[in-house]
Point group: C2
Chain length 282, copies 2
């Protein structure tokens, strides 16, 4: 595996691979890789001839007072994991090269970026869509994979790719959960033992919502309340939001029918945890 | 020459040309082609194997109350001109396909887009950068050409391409002027005979500014005033702005030195005319 530090080198490598007729798969990450990322790598490896993983802790998607400096970084461990998965190129650029002096361009998916996470983290998705557009232009992959754990991010990136007519197939792959059903996240390592135990209420809350829908509840507020109650029963957790939304536009549903997404964000101390589940009524 | 109406067809054609090892040159336009556009086509034809011209009157770069519906459209004439120049593909998509329902993504070059034209036409450059990003993703050219007549647009597109790492060489080519020295523009056809005669003051104003600098004037305000006076002497013209700026950041210069750009926007009746000239002190 090659570790590529320079943008122009990465572009040139990707161009040559493409011109040689090889299909390029791409998994953009902020590093601190876990089984969730690796599940993306494995799927992309099945679909492409060459796998590129980027590790870049993107400063533009962190707000003031957020955990940019604390965000876990361990490029050596990430590289070892990538080697073990048969990744071909690990792209790990410097922030100074990604955002040189005078950088002024932003890419934003309006509407979708303002809801849910966007309300709690203004500017976050603008940072995400800007870096994803840049990364896709550098690597120019045939296929790129993102995790359903960040459901809103996945919806926004699908919209971005469609709107800007970026020539890439976007895969959104299922959440990978730990033995206690907590969704894998690089931020889970910040949890104390007690917080970690309390966080088990998050997947239980999603299950509770599914359960009441299966039982026949058809009032969206009741469904949301059923999930919220489970989390609020844990004194170590604090709900930021719990919403039952349409997966296409992320607007709250007005009726429990068709395909829906229960999305939530919860604080355990300073640590923000996201999770979501599809809920379907046919 | 093929006229291509569908986005996916254009993308597929461009992909095949590129895969066949041919170099693609691209001239994005709003149609109503004149010698300025054709000078871009000719230069691109020298540099590339295949020339794509797009004709798309982009609704997103017109503000409320601007001349979108009046903007001249004559695709048959444009096609004839392109054929005569040996253009290979004329890409002429429908607005409904370029901006389908739910389109939500914008691309913006902050800072640069707010000055000069951006002050008078809020949102204009956001519309320009969004469509240019889309067009470059569809056609994926090796080289794309823009006119120096729209100096601010050219500066913004160079910044866009650099910031988003779009894999294209951007050419900015000189203003083409008519016999009376008026810069060619699709909007010139709206001028009455009297307005057209009055508009001759615009290139004379640029000359006047160059002249005073050559004479040794080193006060930016005096340079600007010398140009402004020439225009204000014409009752049929109304100055929107005249500024002497740094070509890199479009900020007004504080000293007459090095490379500068005198930029101006003038109304003749309802018709907005732009022009600019490089001014250099070595």
């Amino acid at each position: 595996m090659d570790i590529v530090r320079r943008i122009l080198s990465m572009r040139e490598i990707a161009r040559k691979e493409r011109e040689s007729g090889r299909k390029i798969g791409f998994v953009p990450t902020m590093g601190s890789l876990h089984e969730g990322h690796l599940s993306l790598v494995r799927r992309v490896k099945e679909l492409a001839d060459i796998v590129v993983v980027s590790v870049f802790v993107n400063p533009k998607q962190f707000g003031a007072g957020e955990d940019l400096s604390q965000y876990p970084r361990d490029i050596k461990r990430d590289a070892d994991l990538c080697i073990a998965e048969g990744v071909d190129y690990l792209f790990h650029p410097e922030p100074e090269e990604v955002y040189p002096d005078g950088h002024a361009t932003i890419v934003e998916v309006e509407g979708l970026s303002r809801k849910l996470e966007g309300k709690s983290r203004p500017g976050h998705f603008r940072g995400v869509t800007t870096i994803v557009a840049k990364m896709l232009n550098i690597v120019h992959p045939h296929v790129a994979a993102f995790g359903q754990k960040d459901a809103q991010q996945a919806a926004i990136i699908q919209r971005l790719v469609k709107d800007l007519m970026i020539d890439v197939e976007v895969l959104v792959l299922p959440i990978v959960r730990d033995e206690d059903e907590l969704a894998l996240s690089s931020r889970n390592r910040f949890l104390t033992v007690e917080q970690r135990r309390a966080a088990g209420a998050i997947p239980r809350a999603l299950q509770a919502a599914r359960h009441v829908v299966a039982e026949g509840i058809r009032d969206p507020e009741e469904v949301v309340a059923s999930a919220r109650e489970v989390i609020e029963a844990e004194p170590l957790l604090k709900v930021d939001y719990v919403e039952l939304v349409d997966p296409r536009d992320l607007n709250p549903v007005t009726a429990v029918e068709g395909e829906m997404l229960l999305v939530l964000a919860v604080y355990a101390g300073e640590t923000r945890l996201l999770d979501n589940a599809e809920i379907r009524v046919s």
